[in-house]
Symmetry: C2
Subunit: 415 residues, 2 copies
Amino acid sequence: MRIELVNTGDELLLGDTINTNAAWLGQQIAALGLVVSRHLVVSDGAVIKEAMAEAASRSDVVLVSGGLGPTNDDLTRDSIAELLGLPMELDERLKAQLEAFFAKRNRAMSSSNLRQAMVPRGALVMDNPFGTAPGLYFPAELSHARGWNTHFFLMPGPPRELKPMMETHVEPRLRALLPDGASRTIRYFKVTGLGESDIVERVEKKLEAVPDLILGYCIRQGDVDVRLSGQPGPVAQGEAIVREHLGEHIVSTDRRLIEQVVVQTLAERGQWLATAESCTGGFLASRITDVSGSSGVFGHGFVTYANAAKQQHLGVPADWIEQHGAVSEPVAQAMAEGALRVSAADHALALTGIAGPSGGSDAKPVGTVFIGLASQGAETVVKRFFYPGTRDRFKLLASQAALDMLRRRLMGLPL
Amino acid sequence: MRIELVNTGDELLLGDTINTNAAWLGQQIAALGLVVSRHLVVSDGAVIKEAMAEAASRSDVVLVSGGLGPTNDDLTRDSIAELLGLPMELDERLKAQLEAFFAKRNRAMSSSNLRQAMVPRGALVMDNPFGTAPGLYFPAELSHARGWNTHFFLMPGPPRELKPMMETHVEPRLRALLPDGASRTIRYFKVTGLGESDIVERVEKKLEAVPDLILGYCIRQGDVDVRLSGQPGPVAQGEAIVREHLGEHIVSTDRRLIEQVVVQTLAERGQWLATAESCTGGFLASRITDVSGSSGVFGHGFVTYANAAKQQHLGVPADWIEQHGAVSEPVAQAMAEGALRVSAADHALALTGIAGPSGGSDAKPVGTVFIGLASQGAETVVKRFFYPGTRDRFKLLASQAALDMLRRRLMGLPL
């Protein structure tokens, strides 16, 4: 099945908006074992008609986003009606929905909004609970008059409207178009602590040997999503392989991030975490507090960027810093144990390292980081890692390694 | 001048990589007063040939990225040679450069890398100091045999290779193609503390009245880049308008972020900053420490998520929290003054608020934040803001407001 993606929006071509929809839609399509074969972005206005016609001439499915708003340059709805020769009709149910939408928000509904209740004859409405632009589905029959056999799905551009519409209305229809779509299933394994090449080496050949299993990777900085899709049988076979060979590196199978897993696990156990950061400068604390509910597990964080702060707030002995350097195993240990003590938490993570670009040496080059984990009733562990590159990447990978040390301790895995 | 953009890369269509190049290139083109009219993404492999031909048939300039690597599915170079009927020739200088690149990194050069030293006859090499794939420029004459009059620019896909090549090699050539390109200039004004609609209201009509001035906005969360381009005269007129009406909201004119401006200003003055964060959970400290050199101005940060932490580390009186609530003006003030005292810094920023999704009340709904700024020898100021929405957005906007309070104090502007 050939799928093309067409976006309309001047803001995309001017670069004012990064096109995150395209990547997200690409992933959703890939999860069905399909691939977007072309992705085209055109400006607002009449050019969308030609773009949809081109895509339809080559494809079984065309996903369109944008241009369903109430303004004069929102022409996607009118363009497809012209393209397929369908008359526009007022949809009374949509009109009532729009009126209710505006009434609920105490806003006046302009006459231009009424355009959003117009539906080309034969198209099916896909409800949009998050905005005023309904989606529209044109089954392939509606394109036969043009000599095509193409399904069109028209969705609004804003991600918070597009994503639920794709999941609720488009994906089930795409599944229904696939011979085995209804039973097609997907599993994600978020893997951390292994590079992409390690993962490939451990499982790729074995997974490729499973008949009818579709394998994909989504590589992020810090972790890799391994994606298995296909019929339930092959996916289950694949899952067994992934669990056997990547086992303790699997952070979640429900796409939860490691910070969510850690916070939720701490919350279940009623345990508290403290942080003491030098080189990551608050980024670890910020990741933890990105998780809703983190206030129930995280009370005290220290950003001890200066040596004096390490001594003053965490009780790191001045002569240890003098003797071993601020970036050292003993200092990471003292920071972790100090944070544990002053916060009375159950666990404390501490990081000290060299984010760069300056401050490195031969013995401790830029990218070096020592991470300490202290826990009540357990021995403090300090590990050394090396993440050269930009400051951003350093902060991300170092905080990821710290979270993984805590995850492993919480799961009873070796550190 | 009509410009199209063609990217090749399976990772873009699968959604494994968000296409940030497209937005960045769109901005660079817009800065020249031009607009990308179409942006097409196709998979790796032979389809790039058809995509380039389509774009060329409609356009004066085609910018291509991706597919210049050493592997079998990197076909951009071969495809354009076939398309334009140009023989491939080994470029000895490129070959020597490639050998030097690998020698410097102690890596073996494979024979497939030699493909990257092959140049279609007549194409001009654009050097790539950050990778092995050189860029290629095909002046329009090379396309005349096909009946086109199209300039092709081929660039590598990785952003850290593409961006410098665009700036160094492509933009000067695009300018040279514009009748007034050589003298065309651009100014950016990073504006904070005003919404897009406020900015539009203050300056848009006045700027649109300046003949031959090209106006653009790049809206981010937290700030807006106002972009003026054109000939030096109109741009100078526009700059006067922007400075008069947006004056004290201008953070920088060289695209520096507010955290860079603040850190650099503190560094120039030899002053120190401390932070005390509740609701932003370390995000403010992390933004500050994203700036290289921040260790010279930032020594102590506190993430006092728990009330006990506010008391213990910052000396916030327990009865103030009891009486006014943790999210209150007195507590923000006590946090800022406490952080200033214990860190002996020159300035301290403190934030206490409700990031949500839970914890709000009628008097203090989710999104409420109090931000305190204490400075040596100045009165502590506390301001109340309201940023409803997601946690991410809340953390971004609250930290932005805090940085702007400090920026205003450093610049001697009213708070």
